[in-house]
């Protein structure tokens, strides 16, 4: 039986020096709570892919559309705020 919900933790940090004149590079790691599965990322796409692989959401079509639109708005908002590579 599939679990009703799953959680993910995303940690992000800047790895470049504070006094560096180059734009900061954000990196991160996403992990699934309760498992040893994790993946490092420097591009947001990796986050989405990791969740899709593990959440395996079996939704009716209308809810799937809503879920996808939620994802799109989430990644759009994060891209606006953090200079993580697209």
């Amino acid at each position: 039986m599939k679990p009703e919900a799953t959680s993910f933790i995303i940690r992000i940090w800047i790895d470049s020096a504070a006094e560096n004149s180059e734009p900061p590079i954000w990196r991160g790691v996403i992990e699934q709570v309760g498992s040893t599965e994790k993946r490092h990322f420097q591009e947001l796409q990796t986050v989405t892919q990791f969740i899709r692989e593990r959440a395996d959401l079996d939704l009716p079509p209308t809810l799937r559309e809503r879920w996808q639109s939620l994802w799109l708005s989430l990644t759009h908002e994060i891209r606006k705020r953090l200079p993580i590579r697209r």
Binding site: S7, R11, A17, A18, L70, L82
Partner: protein, 305 residues
């Protein structure tokens, strides 16, 4: 005295006698939740929803009464004390008694780090460094590491950040105190948690260089390069490559680390725009949570095809 260790697997003892089933059983987890929220009494409805949210309100409240009763039994069977010596219990709310005789590792940990929050690692004094050493000695693993309930996640991450920040401060402190070997040990502890932290690799290269061990510094670069390739598919940053080149050229190691940003991520030194970004991300997270709740509601109404 009630002694609770919440770092690592978790352990509790009363009068030196271990409380069985802590923290795996629900009574133990209820105590953990109240300890994490000490100083604030919790309405019974909230506790019932946190632990038994999948049940009806009346059933959830019954389970809460049962867990509380079991906790009382556990306490009285161990030392003949009353649960009310530790908990404030009323018909509407429950909370941890602030006047109870207790020792809690996460509280001691936070107390030890509190005086160093605004001080970069290189500027710590000996007392502050000793306090940070005491703090990291208490960190025996992530908070309640085998419990994956949602209510543990935020605190687990917050304390983990504080731990990593403390280790990083000590790395730089020992570097400037000409005791690089101790700094290196702390760097390894950070990399054990996350081997892809390039800045920590750079600081370790500097510490080896300070120690006069250029070959170890160069080996650290190679280790960093390999991890970045495996985990992220990228090469080290230019500043890491520059540091590698300087070590290869046999230049003299600088006595201090130029990039000492070892304070915890959220501090008074964070630029205002970064704080604004954090706040706006928090609002976004709230919005997403409410969307997810709405999705959950819809899923409950209509079973999947």
């Amino acid at each position: 005295m009630l002694e609770i260790k919440m770092f690592g697997a978790g352990q509790a003892s009363l009068g030196g006698i271990q409380l069985s089933g802590f923290p795996q059983q629900q009574a133990g987890q209820l105590l953990c939740y109240l300890l994490l929220n000490r100083g604030r009494t919790q309405p019974r409805e909230r506790l019932a929803a946190v632990f038994w949210g999948q049940h009806s309100s009346s059933t959830a409240r019954k389970y809460l009464r049962n867990a509380l009763w079991r906790l009382g039994q556990l306490v009285s069977a161990t030392t003949c004390q009353d649960i009310q010596d530790f908990l404030h219990i009323s018909d509407s709310a429950i909370g941890f008694q602030p006047r109870a005789e207790y020792w809690l590792d996460i509280e001691a940990f936070e107390r030890s780090t509190a005086g160093c929050k605004a001080t970069p690692g290189a500027r710590l004094n000996a007392d502050q460094a000793q306090n940070l050493e005491s703090a990291i000695g208490l960190y025996q693993g992530d908070l309640l590491e085998s419990i994956y309930e949602d209510w543990t996640l935020y605190e687990r991450e917050r304390l983990r950040l504080l731990y990593i920040g403390s280790l990083n401060k000590l790395m730089l402190y020992y570097g400037t105190q000409a005791r690089p070997e101790q700094g290196l040990a702390h760097g390894e502890r950070i990399l054990a948690l996350d081997p892809a932290r390039e800045k920590i690799h750079r600081q370790m290269m500097w510490l080896y260089w300070l120690q006069g061990d250029r070959s170890a510094a160069l080996a650290q670069y190679k280790r960093c390069r390999q991890i970045l390739r495996e985990e992220l598919g990228v090469r080290p940053m230019r500043e890491t490559q520059r540091l590698y080149a300087a070590i290869r050229q046999n230049a003299e190691a600088p006595a201090t680390w130029a990039d000492d940003t070892s304070e915890p991520a959220v501090s008074g030194k964070v630029p205002a725009d970064a704080l604004r970004q954090l706040r706006s991300l928090q609002k976004l997270a709230d919005r997403i949570n409410s969307e997810l709740r709405a999705l959950e509601g819809l899923l409950n109404q209509k079973p999947a095809d």
